[in-house]
């Protein structure tokens, strides 16, 4: 077991390094628009382009050879110094801690709800295969998988924002924060709070993550990212459970007099839980990481996805690399965790044999 974990750990670090390297090289290959701009500007102002470029490179630490920059980034990264974000004008670590909560505000509930609902529908439709409910569930799952999240988001905004006026078209991130800009669960603020600029009212209104205003603006993003999540979870749960519905041991259980409900929960779900957990942590996590870019762009949520997108567009090297590494690490660690869980959950697999 310990050899297995050791092997996997070494491999994870190696994989992360490779990915980091690829990201680093790619970022370096891209013609730097900031640099071109500086050069252009200098020339139009009649100054030496080369000098301006040199100054720009020095400022951003680009004058050193690639390999030196690479090693210093890696060592810095390991030591917890993730560099400076030129786009946000603050350390990368702060950008991450500032943006991550917003991604989690809709991401976490969406993962939890879609897992529960998706799993329940999937199991139900596996046990009642080829019934009307099963067909309906299947149709729904196709609907959920096929609909482009970002377009769906737009359509919902059109309907609930433009036509019905139930939600605001713009996401206000200040609502979740205190007047000083710190996140808070629940609190109150008067009309001087930055979220209420332009509004005049007496007394105080609720602010914070759990405030009704914030929750209301989170409903649509959560729902949109849920549709795909439920659909995917349902398909997997159904497929996995179907593997076992006709299994011999299920027939054995039935012949012992086990009730249908118990068969589903104890005899089908339990063995299916092992591969399902793999899917859950692996592909599912990926789904949200990928989905978050567009959802955050569409709804204007200042989360990690949006930060990552902006970083790429503005060639904010350090931030790009870190936002690349965060999901990568998540995936690697969860892969490792799920492989170990596999071994623990499924007695058939002996870790001694795995390489």
């Amino acid at each position: 077991m310990k050899w297995y974990i050791a092997k996997r750990l070494v491999w994870s670090v190696f994989a992360a390094l490779i990915i980091l390297t690829i990201g680093f090289v790619l970022m370096d290959v891209v013609p730097d628009q900031g640099l071109q701009q500086v050069e252009f500007q200098a020339q139009t102002e009649g100054q030496s382009g080369d000098q301006a470029v040199q100054a720009y490179e020095e400022r951003r630490g680009l004058d050193e050879p690639l390999i030196d920059r690479y090693t210093s980034f890696v060592t810095g990264f390991v030591q917890g110094d993730w560099g400076w974000s030129y786009e946000y004008q603050q350390p990368v670590t702060e950008v991450i801690t500032d943006t991550l909560p917003y991604s989690m505000m809709y991401g976490v509930p969406s993962i939890i709800i879609s897992t529960i609902i998706g799993m329940a529908i999937g199991l139900y439709s596996a046990v009642n295969q080829y019934t009307k409910t099963d067909y309906a569930a299947t149709f729904f799952s196709f609907f959920g998988v096929s609909i482009p999240n970002w377009w769906f988001g737009i359509i919902l905004l059109v309907i609930f924002g433009s036509f019905l006026g139930w939600v605001d078209l713009d996401f206000s991130h200040r609502v979740a924060e205190t007047a000083d800009g710190d996140l808070t669960w629940l609190g109150t603020a008067d009309s001087s709070h930055p979220a209420f600029i332009g509004e005049n009212f007496e007394g105080e209104r609720q602010i914070g993550i759990l405030s009704p205003t914030n929750l209301k603006q989170l409903i649509l993003p959560t729902f949109v990212s849920m549709t795909a999540g439920i659909a995917a979870m349902m398909r997997y749960a159904r497929a996995e459970a179907l593997e076992y519905v006709d299994a011999e041991f299920v027939k054995t259980a039935k012949s012992k007099g086990v009730s249908n409900w118990r068969i589903v929960v104890r005899h089908i779900l339990r063995p299916a839980a092992v591969p399902l957990s793999t899917i859950l942590v692996g592909r599912f996590l990926g789904l949200f990481l990928t989905g978050s870019y567009l959802i955050e762009v569409v709804f204007g949520i200042p989360g990690l996805g949006l930060a990552s997108y902006e970083a790429i567009i503005n060639q904010d090297q350090n931030l790009v690399l870190v936002t690349l590494l965060v999901p990568t690490f998540l995936v690697l660690v969860s892969n490792l965790a799920q492989d170990i869980a596999y071994v623990v959950l499924d007695p058939r697999i002996s870790y001694g044999d795995r390489t």
């Binding site: 994989a15 290959v29 482009p148 970002w150 377009w151 936002t323």
Partner: protein, 445 residues
């Protein structure tokens, strides 16, 4: 058991039983084969495969030539670094080849003229589809009927298939007989036919086209789907978008299938370090957040259609290769593979005739998942403004309407519906195909 096969036994029960029972004794030896002669002679190929090989070679030469002219001789990042070499490559070298000419930095071929890089890929994909998909179905009517019988049970899939055929034909023919929609000042904001909007949304020229009265404008048949904020015809945009979506989805999937199947088969057949390296790499590739990588690559290399297809093709194959590998690993242990080896078959034969056909389920499953996801990814990139700016795609149209959701809601909605329906149809179709060719059901009829 000759009498077992019902249709034949009725015909001549006595005959076949004698052949098996007594006839054999009299005529004990099988035909003698002169193996020495056979060993000394090379094998021929069938006419069909010769024609196909010719097509592929012509294609490869022409495509290679275009690539060369474009990226080595032409004005590109690469050529900057190949400075001295480029000087040696005078354009007249190309012109010296009969029938070829240079046209604005592109090779111009006889008959077809200039073919853009992404179209080269599109053509070979369609040709491959005919050769590996349609032709075998035509040659094997029994098998075709059998699959069709099972496939048509799924009504939703049949409708989806029809929808996709229609989309493909309209897109393919439509984008050749019509020109791309161009922005036109003043024509902006016309609503679709039958839909009304406040007239201030509609540009001055558009007000003449649409039915405007009393401060409200209603769309007319001249622009059935209305126009965008820059006055582009959405109807034309949707038609051109059809081909783009089909092209990206099918071509990139075809590319990734070829890579995935090749790597999976070789890894499974030979195993060892080839397998180890290939699939360790797949591990890494799959760990990379895919959409992030698209963004990064498209942003750094540029979003021309050709590059987009290549990026999707070269990034998407990992998951497919993994699926195919696990399927092929199971197949590898099947006795018919052993039988083929025991008969003296070489690796290429075993891979082509046994492994490949038997992982076709996984290939189709994978393709049916990959095509819609690539279509969605292309649309998403276009939506973010990172697609090919020279071509009108659905994602681009959706993005155009995004800032005017309240008033010009149809700009985002209409292309989005087509995108959604196309993706949905591919998913339905893929699911039904998977069911139809699932060998677990085979022989059930």
């Amino acid at each position: 058991m000759s009498r077992e096969s019902s249709d034949q036994s009725a015909a001549d029960p006595a005959d076949s039983s004698t052949a098996a029972a007594d006839g054999g004794v009299a005529d004990a030896r099988f035909e003698d084969v002169d193996w020495d002669r056979i060993d000394s002679v090379n094998r021929g190929r069938s006419l069909k495969s010769r024609i196909w090989l010719t097509i592929v070679s012509i294609w490869a030469t022409a495509f290679g030539g275009t690539l060369f002219v474009r990226y080595v001789m032409g004005d590109s990042i690469l050529s900057e670094r190949l400075g001295p070499l480029q000087d040696a490559l005078d354009p007249t070298v190309v012109e010296a080849i009969p029938l070829l000419s240079l046209n604005d930095g592109w090779v111009s071929f006889p008959v077809v003229g200039v073919v853009e890089l992404h179209n080269w890929l599109w053509w070979i994909t369609l040709a491959g589809f005919v050769y590996y998909g349609a032709l075998p179905l035509y040659e094997n009517p029994r098998m075709t009927r059998y699959y069709w019988r099972r496939f048509r049970k799924n009504k939703a899939a049949v409708i989806s298939g029809l929808f996709l055929v229609v989309i493909f034909l309209i897109g393919f023919v439509g984008s050749r007989v019509t020109s791309q929609p161009e922005p036109e000042a003043g024509l902006d904001g016309i609503p679709p036919v039958g839909i009304s909007t406040e007239s201030y949304n509609v540009g001055p020229a558009g007000q003449k086209v649409a039915d405007c009265a009393g401060g409200v404008c209603t769309g007319t048949w001249e622009y059935p789907f209305g126009t965008t904020t820059s006055g582009e015809d959405i109807f034309l945009g949707v038609i051109h978008g059809m081909e783009i979506s089909m092209m990206v989805g099918l071509t990139a999937t075809a590319a990734s299938l070829v890579i995935a199947a090749g790597i999976a088969l070789v890894s499974v057949y030979y195993g060892g370090w080839i397998d180890e390296i290939a699939f360790r790499w797949v591990d890494i590739q799959l760990t990379f957040p895919a959409f992030f990588l698209y963004l990064l690559l498209v942003y750094s290399i540029g979003g021309s259609m050709f590059i987009l297809i290549l990026i999707f093709g070269f990034i998407e194959w990992g998951g497919g290769a993994r699926l195919m590998r696990s399927e092929a690993l199971q197949r590898r242990e099947e006795p018919y593979i052993t039988a083929s080896k025991a008969a003296g078959a070489n690796p290429l034969w075993t891979m082509r005739k046994h492994l490949l056909p038997n992982i076709s389920n996984t290939i189709i499953t994978y393709a049916s998942l990959s095509i819609p996801s690539i279509i969605l990814a292309e649309a998403a990139l276009s939506f973010l403004g990172l697609g090919d700016p020279t071509m009108v795609s659905w994602g681009q149209l959706i993005a155009d309407g995004r800032d005017n959701l309240a008033n010009l809601w149809w700009i985002s909605t209409i292309p989005g519906i087509f995108l959604f329906l196309t993706v949905l149809s591919f998913n339905f179709l893929g699911d039904a195909l998977r069911d139809a060719i699932d060998p677990r059901h085979e022989g059930a009829e």
